[in-house]
Amino acid sequence: MKRIYADLHLCPNLKDSKHVSQIISKASKLGYRLIAITFPSNLTEEEIRRLRNISKEAKIDLASRVDLKPKTPEELIYDLRKLRRRFEIIAVICESKNVARQAAKDRRVDLLNFLSLDFRRRFFDKAEAELASNGLASLEIDIKPLLTLEGPTRIRLLSNLRREATIAQKFHVPIVISSGVSDETLMRKPKELAALASLFDLDEASAIEAVSKNPLAIVKRNREKLGPRFVAPGIRIIRRGKDC
């Protein structure tokens, strides 16, 4: 069966329909069959439907995603309660240790993202990985900084990513590689994203899984949970009616 590739972090300007169409059709041309676009938490159903129509025309599946950037664990819990059933993917941008720990523990979180280039503000360590391995969170790595940075900054980033990828693999935390781009020219084919992952010593098989199997598993799991037939893990409604 042909492998399906996914990019779970595209950030087009949602106010510009033309830009959104360009990004979606470029993703389709590059070989992705599933993408996720970051939506603001207050996006209306009509707007989501419009974007789904655009992606349908481009013959690509669109998953809805929201990025949470809470300042405290309590704020994270509040946001998760409010938004979990509205979006297919929930990513948490962890800017403090407490938020990172809470996000790793919480089974409602799909992706852990550490945007900071400062190694002191990247909290994916062994403790974090252990918590994530007991939950459902995956480590998301955006490739955009690897393309836009140069010199010592990129070297430091690669060093951090190498450490985090090693820890994630040791604790069996799934890694998801996304582009994280808002510009068409920075989009890359799935195998090119996987090739860039070799810069932080991720082996080829794991890198390919990070752009295919891992992101697809997250979307499949959440679509099942958000579907009308879902009751609890392993339990779903098969038939409704008076005489079942």
Partner: protein, 81 residues
């Protein structure tokens, strides 16, 4: 080609670049399509370097790899399909 060399150099240094054995075989200006030869053991390295390129001179670019093949003849056959 200078831009490609520069990308390999930036990521892998002079030692890495010396192992790549890069040669430009063909470049079609109209179709914006190039054929580059490299040592087979350096394919992944060159693939990564090409993917990391974002500019040639002052122009923003994105380089995508269409095909990798062992011989030039079969490469053209696959690409023309």
């Amino acid at each position: 080609m200078d831009a490609v060399w520069s990308a390999v150099l930036k990521l892998y240094g002079e030692y890495g670049a010396s192992r790549a054995g890069l040669t430009l075989i063909d470049y079609d200006v109209e179709k914006r399509f190039a054929v580059i030869r490299t040592v087979h053991t350096a394919v992944d390295m060159v693939r990564t370097a090409l993917a990391s390129m974002t500019r040639i001179g002052n122009k923003p670019v994105a380089i995508h790899i269409l095909r990798v093949s062992g011989t030039i003849k079969s490469l053209y056959k696959k690409v023309n399909k």
